[in-house]
Subunit: 343 residues, 2 copies
DNA sequence: TGTTAGCACTCAAATATTTCGAGTGCTAAC
DNA sequence: GTTAGCACTCGAAATATTTGAGTGCTAACA
């Protein structure tokens, strides 16, 4: 069977009506509210066809039709085909804040409030090139290492030492560390480099080892992709999700998303493989079982220094895709703007 | 009317039965499951008295009795009277982690998982005595200020300058800042001190102003009492809360609790006024409207350096107080232990 | 005077029953 | 190919019915 133009029109009408109302849509509704001028009976025939083709289904006999994942997919794809122009009133959503962290939290919040879906925003990911390292004396047995990496991200770590370093010794360590590590990315720091440094350190080799270890821990630490979520409780607003037995699990997932290695990995993957900036995954298309009744819409933003992060929305499959996509485009646009102006 | 021993026994039996079952408890139940050997009729009479006295009430005629806030209060008070011995198997709950932040998150998580209530943990509050300040060069127009305050909390801030400071100039600033600010608490930093510093800075007074401002911002910033919550979704497990119209609001409150100045202030207040380490607020006893159907149980922990923070649980009034209190005692005990060993 | 058995009454919750109507599929006619 | 008409389906809502735990009250008993 073929998906002719009329079928397409009907399908789109069904999906968009369903997106609005959340009720299964019947043949009469479509007959009345499209410009096709077809009777309900004809629509019924077409609907029957569309059902055979897998785009729509009935939640039970004698109910209207609702889109299948495939139906949503078709709708979304054709939506993406149309050019979505960013709305005129942009630039007002975000207030300028200096701290990256706050900014991203704000983005998550803004998104959640404006869309009524759950949102998540990841920190931009850098390749962690070291900009500089600063060691300071805290007390007799503690040092503070401050490491600034590409993207002006500051990490710090307290390091316990057995030997009480004097100020001039710390200074020497600072010089040594910076000489070797400045500009180095994680991959650059290999065993060879380390042993060279140790040779240079001479009698201090052992302490260097301790310090070095602390520094590496610090660099890796914040690396574990922070995710900010917001509006998780918005999920409660969608009955189709609440009834689904996974609702509580989903909320839980969102709550402690920071722990869910797996989930984060998944997000990363999504970011990686997309070429376009907007990516939509519907229902079963999501690998994660928790999301099987949801749709995930993500967009990437880019930092001037090359960092890359994701803004995403999790909501019911019955989601206002158009609004969400526009929203995401606006926000990533705004982020770009802010970051570029800041530089 | 007087609350004689028998009435007390019956009241306690009612409350504790209700805590277990969540159902209104009737006279027969009490008659059967207490060692009083009284018929249900007698119990009924006593219950009627207890109702007159305000300790229990009926959700509707011809239902059993449930405790009023006053009833809970009586129960909890008498519970607190008994000595609660910490459980033997303590010390295993928390894994040692180095970062304060992680540790507190873990505490929140452990509590949430073990109790099935929502939990919140605040960062310890210090009086923010400056331990030392370290200024570093980032690029031509940016400085990094790292400030360590009492309790080994590290704060940092990027400061934009108009004038490109050279290394030796930065060194001078470092010395200047540390000379004046080391050991200073927030109250110590007043206008007089600032103007003295400016005089010392001479031609650099203006830049000092900028830097100083940045530093003050940094110190204040993290000061805004971070709160970690966990297990907010546990609230969904308690039907009595879900039906209450405030459920969603409550969840929302928990979700972005970091913004709710008001709420945080409230917590602080609770911490302030308590002399004993455990504080319980039931229903209307809570100032916050959002908590009117909940109970809030808090405990304070103390850092060796004098910092003070709060661990708390939010749950339904029908809460396993005994377990929660024991749990909190254990955890604060563990925290103390860890902090002391660490030092 | 305190305790208890007995009984009529109440009322939420569970269960069963009915009604309603939106929606379908099919057929026959245009 | 389109449409009107009709019998049929079935969930949801409304309504009725049953059930049972629980109460308060009274009268009798120790």
């Amino acid at each position: 069977m073929e998906l002719d133009e009329r079928k397409v029109k009907i399908l789109k009408a069904i999906v968009s009506t369903y997106l609005e109302t959340g009720e299964p849509v019947g043949s009469r509704t479509i007959s009345k509210f499209t410009d096709l001028n077809l009777s309900s009976a004809t629509i019924r025939n077409e609907m029957s066809d569309l059902e055979d083709m897998g785009y729509i289904c009935q939640p039970h006999t004698s109910a209207g039709r609702i889109p299948t994942d495939m139906g949503y997919r078709f709708y979304v794809d054709s939506l993406m085909g149309e050019k979505i122009e960013a709305e005129e009133e942009r630039g007002n959503l975000l207030q300028r804040v200096d701290k990256m962290e706050k900014m991203l939290k704000q983005v998550a919040k803004v998104l959640a409030v404006n869309t009524n879906y759950a949102t998540l925003v990841t920190m931009p990911q850098y390749n962690n090139t070291v900009k500089f390292i600063q060691l300071s004396h805290v007390d007799d047995e503690t040092l503070l290492a401050v490491i600034m990496v590409e993207g002006n991200i500051v990490k710090n770590k307290l390091i316990k030492t057995t030997y009480n370093l004097k100020n001039d010794e710390i200074l020497k360590f600072n010089i040594l560390l910076n000489t070797f590590l400045q500009g180095a990315s994680l991959e650059d720091i290999n065993l060879e480099l380390i042993s060279t440094m140790k040779t240079q350190a001479g009698e201090y080799a052992e302490i260097l080892e301790t310090i070095f270890q602390g520094i590496m821990e610090a660099i890796h630490e914040a690396d574990d992709l922070k995710v900010y979520t917001s509006g998780a409780t918005n999920m409660l607003k969608y009955p189709e999700l609440i009834n689904s037995e996974s609702a509580e699990k989903l909320l839980g997932t969102l709550e402690d998303i920071e722990d869910k290695e797996e989930f984060i990995k998944y997000m990363e993957e999504v970011v990686q493989k997309e070429n376009s900036d907007i990516q939509i995954l519907i229902g079963q298309e999501n690998r994660s079982e928790d999301l099987k009744d949801c749709a995930l819409v993500t967009a990437t933003y880019q930092m001037p220094e090359g960092g890359k992060g994701t803004i995403g929305i999790i909501g019911p499959k019955r989601m206002d895709y158009k609004k969400v996509v526009t929203m995401l485009k606006n926000l990533t646009g705004e982020l770009d703007e802010i970051f570029n102006n800041n530089e």
